[in-house]
Structure formats: C-alpha cells, structure tokens
C-alpha cells in the first residue's frame, strides 16, 4: 500500500512532466520544486493563517497553478525554439531559485502538515492502512479521471490536444496556441501542487522535497516520455520496485532502485512502455 501511494506521487509528478513535454517539447526540471512550493503554500495557509485544510488545499493549487501560467508567459515562452539544452538549464536555474525562495520565505526547517485524516487507520483485509496513504491513492484516481474527462470532453481540452499534436495547424484553426500553453503550464503546476499537498503528511516538508522530481523522471521515462497513462503506470511501478528492493535487496539499493531502472530502460527500450518511436525527417 505504501509503495502504491508513493508510486502515485511519482506518477503525478511524471504526469506534470509529460503534459508539458507533449505540449511544448520542453522538459521541466523544476517540476519537483513546484511540488515543494505547493506543499509549502498549503502549510503556510494551514499553520500560519489558520485556514481550513480543504480551503488551503484549493488555494495552494490555485496559487501554484497561476504561478506556472505566469512563468510560462514571462520566461519559458522566450526559449521555445531554442536548443533543448537551453531549456534544461533554464528550468534547473529556476528550480534553484524556487528552493532559495522557499528557504528565505519559510525557513530551512522541517515541517509537518496537519490534516483532518492524520494518524487514522483503517483495517482492510487484515492490513492496517493509514488514511494519508488512502488519500493519496483516492486523490490520484480522482485527478486522473478529471483530467481524462477534461482532455477528451471539454472544448478547451480538445483544443489543447490539437495544439500539442501540431502547433501550426492548430494556430491556423484559430486556437490561441500561446494561451493554451500557459494553461497547460498552469495545469501541470497545479498537478504538482496537488502531489505536494498529498505527499506532505506522509513525508515531511522541507526545501529538498523537490528532489522527488528526479525519481519521477524514472517514472516518466519508464512509461515512455509523452504518454499520460504511461506516466502513471510508470510511477506506480517505480513505487513498487522501490518498496520491494527495500525489503529484499541489500541496504542502499532502495534509494537508487529508481535510477537503476531508469538507466536499464534507457539502455534497453528507450521509448519506454507506452512510447511511440518517431523517425526524424531530414
């Protein structure tokens, strides 16, 4: 159950990568740091201002989502069309800035986020399951359903799919492509914030929470970079692999299991489980 829940978090962060990658072909190395910001914003509202958990949750999603959109409109739009390397460096730099911002604003201590379902357990078929993990899994399932419905059934969602498949054609069809990209950044940042808030009660909040993003890379690559169901399946697989390698393999393997899987996947099947192979036209 724990492996499944942690896997869901990896899946959600990987989902954020994949959404942005599919739409804009940028790889966002700052995704994990957006997750960290989400957790901190929620913590700030709950503990500093005494706002209720659910309101703080919504505020965190809205604020971080808005932040993502502004980031796209002001910074990242400028580098579209430049070498991918420039984007990688740019997002690494942004990630470092976010961490620095968080440590200045909220301090570099370690915090715990109180939730309405903290320290409660349910017995489920002889295994006691704490509600925090249940919340992660339920939250992930709900979010995925919502995103699926949004992308297939709403006008904006279909327009987003169109602009991610072919920017120019979508532009000719009258879709405001730039605004769509900002919206995708907003959704992706919002998903990261949700992952952060869900993760916060299980793990503790500190400025290095964002390094979970590195493991989410493994999830995204395993699922095939660019496949949305792949991201989730990849995340859950990585979570379970970590759990079992912690139980059955020597000490220390658990921490690097995700990266070993990542290297193996890249060496053996770089397109991942659900990826498509594209040939480059000259």
């Amino acid at each position: 159950m724990n492996g499944l829940a942690v896997g869901c978090i990896y899946g959600l962060v990987a989902l954020g990568f994949v959404l942005i990658y599919k739409a804009t072909e940028l790889v966002n190395f700052a995704q994990g740091d957006l997750l960290m910001l989400g957790a901190f914003v929620c913590y700030m509202f709950v503990v500093w201002y005494g706002v209720g958990y659910w309101v703080a949750f919504a505020l965190a999603i809205a604020l971080v989502g808005l932040f993502g959109a502004v980031l796209d409109a002001t910074v990242l739009r400028r580098v579209i069309g430049q070498p991918q390397f420039a984007v990688v460096m740019l997002t690494i730099g942004l990630g470092a800035m976010f961490r620095s911002f968080a440590s200045i604003t909220w301090g570099s201590e370690i915090y715990t986020l109180p939730t309405p379902f903290s320290a409660q357990t349910t017995r489920l078929g002889g295994v006691s399951v704490s509600h925090e993990y249940v919340a992660i899994i339920v939250g992930t399932v709900l979010l995925c359903g919502l995103l699926y419905a949004f992308f297939t059934h709403s006008r904006v969602g279909v327009a987003m799919q169109a602009s991610s498949q072919n920017q120019l054609a979508a532009y000719y069809m009258g879709i405001p492509v730039k605004r769509m990209f900002s919206l995708i950044w907003a959704i992706s940042a919002g998903v990261a914030a949700i992952a952060g808030v869900l993760l916060a009660p299980v793990s503790l909040i500190d400025i290095n929470l964002g390094f979970i993003g590195l493991k989410a890379f493994a999830a995204a690559v395993l699922g095939g970079f660019g496949s949305i169901p792949g991201a989730l399946v990849g995340g859950i697989t990585i979570g379970l692999i970590e759990l079992f390698s912690g139980a059955y393999l020597p000490l220390g393997v658990k921490d690097v299991a995700a990266y070993i899987v990542l290297l193996l996947v890249l060496a053996i099947r770089p397109q991942g489980m659900f990826g498509t192979v594209g040939r480059k036209k000259v």
Partner: protein
C-alpha cells in the same frame, strides 16, 4: 580590421592564429606565473579556478563540442578523486602513476556511461547521466572499504618524485601545469579529425553519419576523453579539499559545472576558462557582497531620514545573511544568461571584437541564432 594572411601550410596548422596571438598567450602565461607574487593570500582560491578550468574543458568537449549534455560530471570527478586517493594511499603507487590510473579508470567509467548513451539523444542523455551520478554517489556512501563512507577520508599533500608540494605556491604551479597540459591536449584533439567529427556530430548527427563519421565510436570517445580529463581534475581536487566525503560530489556540483560552460560560452575553450573563473570566484564575491550591500542600501535609504536608513540596513542585512540565498543567485545568473546571452561571456567578448573590427558596419544579425522547432522535425 586585421586579417592574418597564411602563406605556408605550417601557419595554417599552427595552434595560434598569428604571431600576435602567440605573444598575447605568452604574456598571459607570464602573468599567471607571476601571480603568486602579486596576491599571495588568494592562491588557494586561484588554484581552485585552475582545477575548475580542467573540469570546464572536460565538460566543454562533451557539451560544447560534441553536443552531449551531461549532468553527471561530478560523479566522474568523484571517481577520479577516490581512485587517486585509493591508489596513492592504500596501494602506495607513485603520484604520477596514480593520477594516470585514476584518469584511465574514470575514462573507462565514462565509456560505460557512453555506451547506452549511443541510443539516446538530447534530454534523455542528460537524465541518464543524472541517474548515473546519483547511483555513483550512493556507491561512494556504501563502499566503505575504499571510500570510508560518510566518515570521509583525509587526503595527504602531493609528493611527486620525492618533491613535496605542501606549500600553497607549489600546489598552485602544479595546478597551472596540469591545466596547460589539458588545454594543449584538448586544443590539439579538437583541430584533429577526431575533434572535427565531434563538432559534426554536434551540428547534425544525420549529416555527420552520412559523411562517414562513425557515431558510436566518436560519441564513446568523447565520453571517455571528457571523463578522463575529469578524473585527472578529480585527483587535484582531492588534494585541494584535503578531505573526501560522498556529499561533495552531488548533483549541485554537476549543475555548477554546467553553469560554468553555459556562462562561459558553449563551444569554445576560452569559454570554459571564463566560466571556471566565474564559478570559482562567485562564492567569494557573494560573501564579500554580504558585507557591503546592506551598508550601501542603508546609505541610499538614509536620504529619506536616519530611521529609514537604519531600518533598511537591518532588513537588507537580514535578507542577505540567509543561507539559502547563494544557490538562488546561481540560479538567477543561469536564467539570465540563457535568456539574454546564450553565447555566454565568450560570445559577448566576440561580439565586442566584431563590433570594433568592423566598426560602422556591425549588424546584430551576425550572431542571431536560428530557431529550431522540434515538433516539425518529428513524423507522427
């Protein structure tokens, strides 16, 4: 505008463009050799600049010339450092042999990473090297017999052919010598067929392949060469810091190396050195700024009245004394360079040169980069 006319093939093959350039480099060398007399207090910091210079040259070969961006070079540095210390202190080999073995071992590790790298391009490679670096860092922590794990491992001062390099000045000259060897070697490799093949791969893999460049061989060579240089730098780095611990060789150090080549200017050896100066001296600058900036802000605000001045002084001082500020400043510099000067310091310098040599005719378009949209390159 000065146009060097080359009248012999030797002139065309030479390392330097013309006698004027050679004299400039000779002057620079003389300045570097005389530097210990001028600033004896900062020698340790400047030695670090030279070690970072070797690292920068190493990453420049891979990222700047071959177009393979690695986020795992701190791991190569670590492998070199630990291997050198192991060979030197546990096995008891002479210093020169130990450095050579460390460089060879690191080159082998680089080849190992390079092999799967042949199948991936662009950002996948970056992620793979990142994963490699994280695994290696864990190995450093767990393999206690060699690395002494989290306890860390002290490093002796270098003794070469019976000559002890204990003093700062001696170590400074050791670093200078190794940097010059690295630069000379790299400059020669880069103007040989190997270097041209690397540049061809960077500019277009498909074009290079159709011109007969063996992609797998040259990419692996680039990885091995870059890692080998990094290993040699690691040996010096071990002596410089005097104490090895796994968390030194973290992802953040890899990011600093990338920052170095980006800020310096991708695709030039000059850039690697500018970047090294920048990255090694920036922490020194920041710590100096921590003392001066609050004073300046306080004096500026004192125009509004004495209370405002002291209030601003305290507020600014509290802000700049935050420990988390430094990585943020690094990040900010990186972002600003990518957005406004993607060619780095060397690019800015080239632009100045071109501006003055073609004075009234300078066009911005000379340095405009062609945009490439990935999407159009992909068949769906």
């Amino acid at each position: 505008m000065r146009i060097p006319f080359k009248t012999t093939y030797d002139a065309d093959l030479g390392l330097f463009r013309d006698p004027v350039q050679r004299r400039w480099y000779a002057a620079l060398l003389a300045a570097v050799l005389l530097l210990p007399l001028a600033v004896p207090a900062y020698l340790v910091d400047i030695s670090l600049v030279f070690i970072y210079g070797i690292c920068g040259v190493s990453l420049m070969v891979l990222a700047g010339y071959t177009g393979l961006v690695s986020l795992g070079h701190a791991a190569f540095l670590g492998i070199g450092a630990y291997a050198h210390v192991f060979f030197l202190q546990d096995v008891g080999l002479p210093w020169v042999v130990s450095v050579a073995l460390a460089a060879l071992l690191t080159a082998a590790a680089g080849m190992l990473v390079g092999l799967p790298a042949l199948r991936m391009t662009g950002v996948y490679l970056t992620i793979a090297t990142l994963a490699f670096a994280l695994i290696i860092q864990e190995v450093f922590t767990r393999w206690e017999r060699v690395t002494h794990g989290l306890k860390g491992r002290p490093v002796d001062k270098p003794v070469i052919f019976g000559v002890s390099f204990t003093s700062d000045v001696a170590f400074y000259f050791l670093c200078v010598a190794l940097l010059i060897v690295a630069l000379w070697l790299t400059a020669n490799v880069l103007r040989a067929p190997t270097g041209r093949a690397w540049v061809a791969i960077r500019d277009s893999e498909i074009a290079a392949q159709s011109m007969g460049v063996h992609l797998a061989r040259y990419k692996t060579m680039a990885f091995a060469y870059s890692a080998g240089l990094m290993g040699a730098a690691g040996a010096l780095f071990a002596h410089k810091i005097g104490f090895l611990a796994p968390d030194i060789f973290s992802v953040l150090l890899s990011i600093q190396f990338l920052l170095m080549v980006v800020v310096g200017g991708l695709g030039s050896l000059h850039g690697a050195l500018y970047g090294a100066v920048f990255v090694a001296l920036l922490p020194v600058l920041i710590s100096e700024a921590r003392d001066y900036v609050p004073q300046w802000a306080g004096q500026a605000a004192a125009v509004l009245g004495k209370d405002a001045g002291s209030a601003v002084y305290l507020a600014v001082e509290r802000f700049v004394k935050q420990p988390g500020l430094e990585p943020g400043v690094f990040g900010l510099i990186l972002v600003l360079f990518i957005l406004f000067e993607p060619l780095g310091i060397y690019g800015r310098w080239r632009k100045l040169q071109v501006f003055f040599s073609t004075f009234p005719l300078y066009k911005r378009a000379t340095f405009r980069r062609q945009k490439t949209y990935m999407r159009s390159e992909r068949l769906r």
